[in-house]
């Protein structure tokens, strides 16, 4: 079975800036995949290369086995892209936009599927409204609908929840999860790392155009060396020897950094010697944000 996305040694340079630098990446069909990175890391450029909005300087990119340059028609029929920018055509209604978009993909008589998408995205009441009359959130939903009109097996969402309210965000993720459950491959970029952690089974992290981490979400979380311990002690005074490890203090807890788990033993020893008594202790699991910060700092 062809991978949903295959990228081999793809590079793209703008002037002296290497936006994408020799990227190799393969995403299997059915994956829910996150592409993470700070601003300017090359996420959108990589998506543009995949979707044909930009052309690579070197390397090969394929969607569902179709080369995006030589078999661009088949490749583009296989992918739906929700762009990051809130763009729209001010001349048309929501339904007209979706009908024209269907036509671009060679589909006629798409009314039933358009109605279904509109209903799933809670846009039915706005079907005959002009795009200019829609709120930002509504326009964002139309962008999602446009990406889905041709039922692509691969769906790329470039920061789809940026500036979106909680209600739409939840509705959108429910919809996208159901699409993934029915076999669609989902590729997501987001700055909301908790969304990526909750939704995606595999993650790539980009920095300065290069992939600096690529693994399952679970493995990335396990790999994090950055650990913390939350201690509540009596009396509520931290011994001087532990002050260099103190990160934060909140609600009567001291948040201390652990370089290794074995540091915990010496920490407890210091507390015992100082006469402090531990009244509560929590070892929080590292979240994706901690993993992300560590990877961006160290690689």
């Amino acid at each position: 079975m062809n991978p949903a996305i295959a990228i081999r040694q793809a590079s793209k340079q703008f002037g002296s800036l290497k936006a994408v630098d020799c990227v190799d990446l393969e995403i299997a069909q059915g994956e829910f995949f996150a592409l993470l990175g700070p601003n300017g890391a090359g996420k959108t450029t990589l998506i543009n290369l995949l979707s044909g909005l930009s052309r690579p300087d070197s390397g090969r990119l394929a969607i569902m086995g179709f080369d995006v340059s030589t078999e661009y028609r088949k490749a583009r029929r296989s992918v739906g892209v929700v762009p990051q920018e809130l763009v729209f055509d001010p001349f048309f209604t929501v339904r007209e936009v979706l009908e024209v978009q269907s036509g671009y993909f060679g589909i006629s008589g798409n009314a039933a599927w358009i109605d279904e998408i509109l209903a799933r995205l809670d846009l039915s009441s706005k079907a005959d409204a002009n795009m200019r009359a829609l709120s930002g959130g509504m326009k964002r939903r139309v962008l999602v609908a446009q990406a889905l009109v041709h039922k692509p097996p691969v769906i790329i969402l470039d920061e789809p929840t940026a500036g979106v309210d909680v209600e739409l965000r939840q509705a959108l993720w429910e919809f996208v999860k159901s699409l993934n459950a029915s076999g669609h491959t989902i590729v997501l970029t987001t700055h909301y790392l908790e969304e990526a952690e909750a939704l995606c089974n595999r993650i790539a992290m980009l920095k300065a155009g290069k992939i600096v981490a690529l693994d399952t979400t679970d493995n990335l979380l396990k790999s994090c060396k950055l650990r913390h311990v939350k201690l509540q002690i009596s009396p509520d005074r931290l011994p001087d020897a532990l002050l260099p490890s103190l990160i934060d203090r909140e609600s009567g807890y001291h948040l201390l950094k652990l370089d290794e788990f074995s540091d915990l033993e010496s920490m407890l020893e210091i507390l015992r010697e100082s006469g402090a008594r531990i009244t509560d202790m929590v070892l929080p699991h590292p979240d994706l944000e901690a993993v992300f910060v560590e990877i961006m700092r160290t690689r």
Binding site: S51, L53, G103
Partner: protein, 251 residues
């Protein structure tokens, strides 16, 4: 071909939805030209022997409006799509660059011919205009629309701001149309300016178009057809190359 039809449909609906601006407004401004020039010069100028000046003027004005509107359609649509960003919906689709070219050119042709026919029909009730060789008139109307529709694509791709597009229109398209013999026969010009006029491709479009009405022209309609066809081939190849390269679109 479904993608091509959808883009053509979208482009036609786009200008039709703002028909006051795209169809009625050029009809009105052309009528004003006709009113003023025919009133001022009607009794003083005879461009072709035996042809009243107002009759001579109408095909020229119709062709000028046709050319300018064909250019305006593709260029304004493209630059609006680029500036608002919605061009990506087309670029993300599997519609090929020859289909994009054809759809924009044909939509421009439809608008151009609509405006040109509108002028002709409005003036029919007031002015007696013969239509000796309708096929010649049609061929030059279509070729003119194709050329200007394709030129509009080039301008729409090249321009990054509305004022750049306005410069293209005001400094290239408008002077070439005004100095192409819309208001006069080039035989009324001094020899030097007659030679200069021969370098203007719009002159051949208007002269050939006018031949379709009066059976009289400044130069042979066959030669005009040859020049116009060469121009169309050159502009089309250049535009197709631009679309294929993705210049200012896919970067």
């Amino acid at each position: 071909m479904k993608g091509f039809y959808s883009l053509l449909y979208k482009e036609v609906v786009r200008f039709w939805k703002v028909g006051f601006q795209t169809v009625l407004s050029p009809l009105l401004s052309t009528m004003l030209y006709l009113l003023i020039f025919s009133h001022v010069l009607g009794n003083h100028v005879e461009a072709f022997p035996g042809v009243p000046y107002v009759s001579f003027l109408i095909p020229g004005l119709a062709m000028m409006a046709l050319l300018q509107n064909a250019f305006a359609n593709s260029s304004s649509s493209l630059i609006q799509s680029k500036i608002t960003g919605n061009i990506i919906f087309l670029l993300l689709s599997p519609v090929s660059y020859p289909e994009i070219f054809l759809a924009y050119v044909l939509a421009s042709t439809i608008r151009g011919v609509l405006v040109g026919c509108g002028i002709f029909l409005i003036t029919l009730w007031a002015v007696d205009i013969p239509l000796r060789f309708p096929l010649w008139a049609l061929v030059f109307a279509l070729l003119g629309s194709f050329i200007l529709g394709a030129t509009g694509i080039v301008a729409g791709i090249w321009a990054e701001k509305f004022d750049q597009l306005a410069s293209f229109q005001n400094f290239i398209i408008v002077p070439l149309t005004f100095l192409s013999g819309v208001f006069y026969s080039i035989h009324s010009l001094p020899p030097f300016w007659q030679e200069v006029s021969h370098l203007n491709p719009f002159f051949y479009l208007i002269d050939g178009f006018r031949y379709g009405f009066f059976g009289v022209s400044d130069i042979s309609p066959y030669f005009s057809l040859l020049v116009v066809s060469i121009c169309l081939a050159a502009v089309s190849l250049f535009t197709l190359g631009l679309l294929k390269s993705g210049y200012k679109l896919r970067n």
